[in-house]
């Protein structure tokens, strides 16, 4: 009885948070509008929106970096002459897909942090203390807030994957591999958000450091988008990207894009799971210490 009541309240708190997030025009623009718009701009810039509408037949064809694509577009002597010219198929898998993937992960982490920051916001606005005066356990309240972060990011990632597959015809791989990466990325972003916000004192501090940290780690994580190597050799940029969870999440999407085996994708998601657990272990504990002393 007690347990069920607490669980129901946890869901109620999460539902309330989702309602608030998905009602905010600003957040929606941030979560969905910007990543799709940026990708759309790339698609237009490369002038291939129309042609790429036909399903890509040569997903496995020589992988071309963004640099090469840009060079081809600008009709400049390519620094990688051995590479094939860009065709509509590999334009999607080599340019538009990676850009979309990078944007998606970049903004998913923003979403996670901003959703987790509602804990601090609610504390300052008095609704969190008020929650603590109701017969709802601190654990149920925190779990509700955490669950909301995860669900918000899951909705964002799933919708962005589906929308970009529809609009830009990006082949994210099999449903199973896309789902594995979506779940792994959701976990890592959620864990990161909870972990990071658990280190913050208040919203003032959050305002001062959040943008910078997210941009820095997000950019590092996006490195593979700009550096997918044709020769298969591991570029140092790729290694750097693996120092942040965003890098692994982006990698998962790129694997799907390049039709990697389910095993490879699963292995990458396992790494994401490890990031998730490590972040949650610290973040959840810190929040519990903060609000469950008594």
């Amino acid at each position: 009885m007690e347990g069920t009541a607490a669980l129901l309240k946890t869901f109620d708190i999460a539902r309330k948070d989702l309602l608030r997030s998905f009602r905010s025009a600003f957040l929606l623009m941030f979560m969905f509008g910007i990543p799709l718009l940026v990708t759309g701009m790339f698609a237009l810039m490369f002038g291939n929106l129309q042609e790429s509408a036909s399903p890509p037949e040569t997903a496995d064809a020589g992988q071309v970096s963004m640099e090469a694509a840009a060079a081809a577009l600008l009709d400049v002597q390519s620094p990688f002459p051995e590479r094939q010219p860009v065709s509509s198929g590999n334009m999607v898998t080599n340019v538009i897909g990676p850009v979309m993937g990078g944007m998606l992960i970049f903004f998913a982490f923003f979403t996670a942090v901003s959703a987790a920051q509602t804990i601090l916001k609610e504390e300052e606005e008095g609704t969190l203390p008020r929650l603590f005066t109701t017969p709802t356990s601190a654990a149920a309240i925190l779990n509700g807030k955490f669950l909301a972060v995860g669900l918000t990011v899951l909705v964002q990632i799933s919708l962005l994957l589906a929308a970009s597959a529809l609009i830009f015809h990006i082949p994210w791989g099999s449903l199973a591999s896309a789902a594995l990466t979506a779940l792994g990325a959701t976990g890592a972003a959620t864990g990161f958000g909870i972990f990071f916000v658990s280190l913050l004192k208040n919203m003032r501090q959050a305002g001062a450091v959040t943008g910078g940290l997210l941009t820095l780690t997000g950019m590092l994580g996006m490195m593979p988008v700009f550096a997918s190597s044709a020769s298969g050799e591991v570029s140092p940029l790729l290694l750097v990207s693996r120092c942040v969870p965003q890098g692994w999440a982006v990698n998962g999407l790129l694997l799907g894009l390049h039709s990697a085996s389910l095993g490879e994708v699963a292995l990458n998601s396992l790494a994401l799971l490890i990031w998730t657990l490590a972040f949650l272990w610290i973040g959840v504990r810190r929040f519990r210490q903060r609000y469950m002393k008594g």
Binding site: K16, R20, E125, G126, R130, F132, T133, S137, G294
Partner: protein, 312 residues
């Protein structure tokens, strides 16, 4: 029986003793006001009584449950109206009430019905679908109160629920506090408005700098300043002669002259005034102005602290 029993409750922030050992009892079904200036420690006291803050010393029992050892039972019997509005501004009044009702364990049809009733009670049925952020200050205050009433708590704390609102909204809030008492709830009400404490309370306590400096019924507190009415009169005639006669009138305790006006302390101005007029007429003197001042809590606070309530 007592709904709330506080024993030597203490809380310090650093070296500042916000609540410095207060003890009091609130009877079941009454409105008890905690009257005190800014920084007196009212909110800190309520925070401890609602288990948000752990006391440094002392304890309190809410309907028999210790705030230290039985916080779950305490929370279940409580409704708390925080001093600062604590609502989701981007959600509608109905969504807010629905959410807070769920946090008090209500669900389904019972919840829906209670939300309807509370919306009716706070007069916001018409505007229930507007986001709370778009409401006026008074309307927000009403939702802030409504959110604490959904589960029909036996004991309700209201922390300065009328601060910063228009007279009309204040009237409606004060009326609803009385209505809650009539429904059998025990209300612990904090305020720094003397008039509110005077109007509402069955019992009240005056708090200053973390301590209770007096408590009891209004009459009892007013006895502290002697319980005498003060009358100020102006006359055209010989002040000294009139003064000598008036000192002999029954019920007049003291008669002096201050800045040309006659100052009288009387037991009951209703009984004394006719006699004063009679005696003035007999002496051929006209009374040209009269001002009566009944003793109030302001006077009590001034008497006990040497400061006015308002300038804290």
């Amino acid at each position: 029986m007592n709904a709330i029993e506080i024993e030597n409750l203490q809380k310090s922030f650093g070296t500042r003793r916000a609540v410095d050992g207060i003890s009091l009892a609130v009877r079941q079904g009454e409105i008890f006001s905690l009257l005190g200036p800014n920084g007196a420690g009212k909110t800190t006291t309520l925070a401890m009584l609602s288990t948000l803050l752990r006391p440094d010393g002392g304890d309190a029992r809410i309907l028999g449950h210790s705030i230290k050892h039985e916080s779950a039972a305490v929370k279940a019997s409580l409704g708390v109206v925080p001093q600062d509005i604590a609502l989701y501004m981007d959600l509608t009044a109905r969504e807010n009430l629905d959410f807070w009702g769920r946090m008090y364990g209500l669900r389904g049809g019972a919840l829906r019905q209670r939300v309807d009733e509370v919306l009716e009670m706070i007069g916001l049925t018409e505007r229930q679908k507007d986001p709370v952020g778009k409401y006026s200050g008074g309307m927000k205050r009403r939702v802030n109160i409504g959110a604490a009433l959904l589960h029909k708590p036996k004991v309700i704390y209201m922390d300065e629920p009328t601060v910063g609102i228009d007279p009309q909204s204040r009237r409606s809030i004060l009326d609803s506090v009385v209505a809650l008492k009539e429904q059998g709830m025990t209300v612990l009400y904090t305020t720094h408005y003397m008039e509110e404490a005077q109007e509402l309370s069955d019992h009240l306590a005056i708090m200053d700098s973390g301590r209770l400096i007096a408590s009891g019924t209004q009459q009892e507190l007013i006895q502290l300043v002697g319980g005498l009415d003060r009358i100020r009169l102006a006359i055209n005639g010989d002040v000294e002669r009139v003064l000598a006669t008036w000192r002999t009138i029954t019920g007049v305790k003291q008669a002096t002259v201050e800045e040309g006006l006659l100052m009288l302390l009387v037991e009951d101005s209703n009984q004394a005034l006719p006699r004063l007029f009679e005696s003035a007429a007999a002496a051929g003197v006209r009374i040209t102005s009269v001002e009566i001042q009944e003793p109030n809590l302001e006077a009590v606070f001034l008497h006990l602290t040497g400061r006015a309530l308002r300038d804290g």
